[in-house]
C-alpha cells in the first residue's frame, strides 16, 4: 500500500505507466465512491422530482442506467487503458495531432469551468439560511439579487484562491471528508423519510405501506413543474448512463485506469454509481419532494384560482388551503397571471406566482442542521477544486508558458462568473447531457483507432505516424458528429438526453470513412512530393 501511494504521485504524462506503478482494486473503489458523492448530486436529485419522475421509473431507471455506466467503463474505457496505459491527452495527441488536441482541451476546459460554476452555485446556496439572502428561483437564468451575486462571488473566489494555492491540500481534505459526506447524504434520505411519514400520517409497517408512501407522496409522477421537461423511465436511465459520458464513453478515465493492474477493476466505478448516483440522488430528491409536499398554495394563489378558473371555483376553501402544491395547480395559476398581464389587468412585475426551487443549502439545513449545511459547502468545494484544477490544466496546455497558479486562478474566476448565473445549476440535467455529448465523439475516435483501424488496413495513431498536427479525419468526425446530434435534436426532435447514443455510432462510422479518405489523400500527396 505504501509503495502504491508513492508511485501514484508519479504522473507518466508522456509514457506508459510501468508495472511497478500499478494500483490495486481498493484504490479505485475509494476514489470513485468519494468523487461521485459531490455537491451537484444535491441539485440532480431534486431536479428529478421537479421533472415529475415516478417512484418505479426513478428506482428502476437508476439501477439500469448506473449498470450501463459501469459496463461502459468496464467494456470501453478500461480495456484500452490497461493495454495502452497512456493518458487521454497523450493518446489523443498520437491520434489527432497537437493542434486538434488543443481545440479539444479548450472545449474540455470550458465545460469543466461551467461544471465548477454549478458547484459554486450549490455551495453558495448554503449561505442563504445563514445570512437570510434572496436565493435564485428554479426558472431564473440570471442572478436575481445583489446578495446572491455577493454570496456566489465570495464562495467562488475563495474556492479559486484555495485551488490555486493549495490544490493538493484540498484533495487530501476531500479524501478525509468523503466517508462522512456519504453518511450525511444517507442521513438526508433517512430524515426526509421520517418527515414524510409524520407529515402524511402514514403507518409504515410493511414493505407495501412504504412503497405506497413512495408512490403516492414522494415520487408521485405526473406533470413536471413549469419550465421543466417530463422525465420518463428512459430519461432517468439515459441520464444515469450518460451523466459521466465524458469519463467512460468519452474516455477521460483512460487517465485513471492506466494505473489499474487489471481491466476488470473498472467494476469499482459501481461504488461511485450506486453510492453517489443512486443513494445520494434518491436521498436528495426526497428532500425536495418533502419541501413540495409541505408547500401550500398562498392566499393570493387561492384567490386567483377561485376568481378566474371554474375548475377551482367550487372547491372547498379548506381543501385548497391544505392541498400540497402540485405542478398542475402552479401551471393553472401561472396561466391565469399571464392572461391577466396580456389583458392589462396587472403588469409583468406584479406577477407573484413562482415555482418552488430546490436550494441545496436550505434543503440540507432543514434535514440535518448545521452538519447538513457543512456537507453542502464541503461537497461543493471539494469537487469544484479538482474540476477547476483540471480546467486549468486543459487551458495551460493551450498557453504552456503561463504559470499553473495564474491559470488556475483565472479558471476559478471564470467558474465563479458562471456560478453567479444560476442557469447552469437550475438546468443541470440539460447541461450534463450537453457536456457528455460534446466530448463523446473523441471517445468513439479513440475506440475505433485502437480496435478497428489496423484491422481495416488503416494506420492507427495517424498523427504520430504522419507527423501531422491536425488529423482532419478526427477533427471532421468531431464536428460532423456534433452537427448531426444538433440536427437530431432540433430537426428530428430527439431529446438531448438521447442523441449521444446514435451520435457515438455516427462518430465511429464517420471516423472510419474519413480516415480511409484522408489517409489515402495524405499518402498520395506524400508520394507526389517524394517523386518531385
Amino acid at each position: 500500500m505504501v509503495e502504491e501511494q508513492a508511485t501514484a504521485s508519479e504522473e507518466f504524462e508522456r509514457q506508459p505507466v510501468p508495472a511497478r506503478s500499478l494500483l490495486g482494486f481498493k484504490s479505485f473503489v475509494g476514489m470513485y465512491a468519494g468523487e461521485h458523492c459531490a455537491g451537484t448530486e444535491l441539485m440532480i436529485g431534486p431536479l428529478f422530482v421537479a421533472s415529475g419522475v415516478s417512484a418505479v421509473n426513478l428506482i428502476v431507471g437508476l439501477l439500469l442506467g448506473n449498470l450501463l455506466a459501469v459496463l461502459s467503463w468496464m467494456l470501453l474505457t478500461a480495456p484500452i487503458a490497461t493495454r495502452a496505459r497512456l493518458t487521454l491527452y497523450f493518446q489523443l495527441e498520437q491520434i489527432c495531432g497537437r493542434r486538434l488536441v488543443t481545440l479539444y482541451n479548450l472545449a474540455n476546459g470550458v465545460m469543466f469551468c461551467f461544471l465548477a460554476g454549478a458547484m459554486v452555485t450549490v455551495s453558495a446556496t448554503a449561505l442563504g439560511p445563514i445570512f437570510r439572502l434572496q436565493m435564485p428561483q428554479l426558472t431564473d437564468l440570471y442572478p436575481n439579487s445583489l446578495g446572491w451575486v455577493v454570496a456566489a462571488s465570495v464562495v467562488g473566489v475563495a474556492i479559486s484562491v484555495v485551488a490555486a494555492f493549495g490544490y493538493q491540500s484540498v484533495a487530501r481534505f476531500a479524501n478525509i471528508a468523503s466517508p462522512w459526506m456519504v453518511l450525511v447524504f444517507l442521513a438526508f434520505g433517512i430524515v426526509a423519510a421520517k418527515q414524510f411519514v409524520d407529515a402524511s400520517g402514514a403507518q409504515i409497517d410493511s414493505w407495501d405501506s412504504a412503497w405506497n408512501l413512495a408512490t403516492t407522496a414522494i415520487w408521485k409522477g405526473g406533470e413536471p413543474l413549469p419550465g421543466q421537461i417530463k422525465f420518463t423511465f428512459w430519461h432517468v436511465t439515459f441520464f444515469a448512463w450518460f451523466c459521466n459520458m465524458a469519463m467512460h464513453i468519452g474516455m477521460s478515465d483512460l487517465t485513471v485506469f492506466r494505473f489499474a493492474r487489471k481491466s476488470h477493476y473498472a467494476v469499482a466505478t459501481g461504488a461511485g454509481m450506486y453510492v453517489g448516483h443512486f443513494m445520494a440522488w434518491i436521498a436528495a430528491s426526497m428532500l425536495f419532494a418533502y419541501q413540495l409536499y409541505e408547500t401550500r398554495p398562498s392566499e393570493y394563489m387561492i384567490q386567483l384560482l377561485r376568481d378566474h378558473s371554474s375548475k377551482y371555483a367550487d372547491v372547498d376553501l379548506g381543501v385548497l388551503h391544505n392541498m400540497p402544491l402540485s405542478a398542475d395547480t402552479l401551471r393553472d395559476a401561472m396561466a391565469i397571471e399571464e392572461q391577466l398581464v396580456q389583458a392589462g389587468t396587472i403588469t409583468a412585475a406584479q406577477k407573484q406566482i413562482s415555482v418552488p426551487t430546490p436550494l441545496p443549502g436550505e434543503l440540507a439545513y432543514n434535514a440535518c442542521g448545521i452538519a447538513g449545511l457543512l456537507c453542502v459547502i464541503i461537497a461543493g468545494w471539494t469537487t469544484a477544486n479538482p474540476t477547476i484544477y483540471r480546467a486549468g490544466l486543459a487551458f495551460q496546455a493551450i498557453v504552456p508558458r503561463t504559470s499553473r497558479f495564474a491559470v488556475t486562478l483565472f479558471t476559478g474566476l471564470l467558474a465563479t462568473v458562471a456560478g453567479i448565473f444560476p442557469a447552469i445549476a437550475m438546468k443541470l440535467l440539460d447541461f450534463v447531457a450537453i457536456y457528455g455529448m460534446i466530448l463523446m465523439p473523441m471517445g468513439a475516435v479513440i475506440f475505433v483507432d485502437f480496435w478497428l483501424l489496423r484491422r481495416l488496413g488503416l494506420q492507427s495513431s495517424y498523427a504520430a505516424y504522419s507527423r501531422t498536427t491536425f488529423n482532419w479525419a478526427a477533427g471532421l468526425t468531431w464536428l460532423l458528429t456534433l452537427a448531426m446530434c444538433v440536427l437530431m435534436n432540433k430537426v428530428v426532435g430527439i431529446e438531448i438526453f438521447f442523441v449521444s447514443l446514435p451520435g457515438w455510432f455516427i462518430a465511429a462510422v464517420l471516423y472510419i470513412v474519413l480516415s480511409k479518405m484522408y489517409q489515402k489523400k495524405v499518402h498520395a500527396e506524400a508520394a507526389v512530393t517524394a517523386a518531385s
Binding site: 500500500m1 501511494q5 501514484a8 504521485s9 504522473e11 504524462e13 494500483l23 484504490s27 479505485f28 475509494g30 476514489m31 468519494g34 468523487e35 493518458t87 487521454l88 491527452y89 488536441v101 482541451n105 474540455n108 490544490y167 493538493q168 484533495a171 487530501r172 481534505f173 476531500a174 479524501n175 478525509i176 471528508a177 466517508p179 462522512w180 453518511l183 450525511v184 444517507l186 442521513a187 433517512i190 430524515v191 423519510a193 421520517k194 478515465d253 487517465t255 485513471v256 494505473f259 440535518c368 442542521g369 448545521i370 452538519a371 447538513g372 457543512l374 479538482p386 484544477y389 483540471r390 490544466l393 486543459a394 495551460q396 496546455a397
Partner: protein, 67 residues
C-alpha cells in the same frame, strides 16, 4: 497504539453521524437532538481523522495529470 485509538474515535464519529437519523426515524429522538448529535460527530470526525488517515490515494494520480 495512539493510531488505533484515533481510528476507533473516527469510527465512533461515523457511527454518531448515522445513528441519530436512524433514532429519529424510529421516533427515539427529536430532530433538534439529531442535528446536535450530527454536528458533534462532524466535529469529532474532522478533528481526529486527519491525524491518521493516509494522505494520498489514486485520486491524486487522476487529478495531478497534465493534458
Amino acid at each position: 497504539m495512539l493510531r488505533t485509538l484515533l481510528q476507533l474515535l473516527s469510527w465512533l464519529a461515523l457511527l454518531a453521524t448515522i445513528l441519530p437519523p436512524l433514532l429519529f426515524l424510529t421516533g427515539g429522538i427529536e430532530l433538534v437532538q439529531c442535528h446536535v448529535s450530527m454536528l458533534t460527530a462532524t466535529f469529532l470526525w474532522f478533528v481526529v481523522t486527519p491525524c491518521w488517515m493516509e494522505r494520498q490515494s489514486a485520486q491524486s494520480a487522476q487529478t495531478a495529470e497534465a493534458p
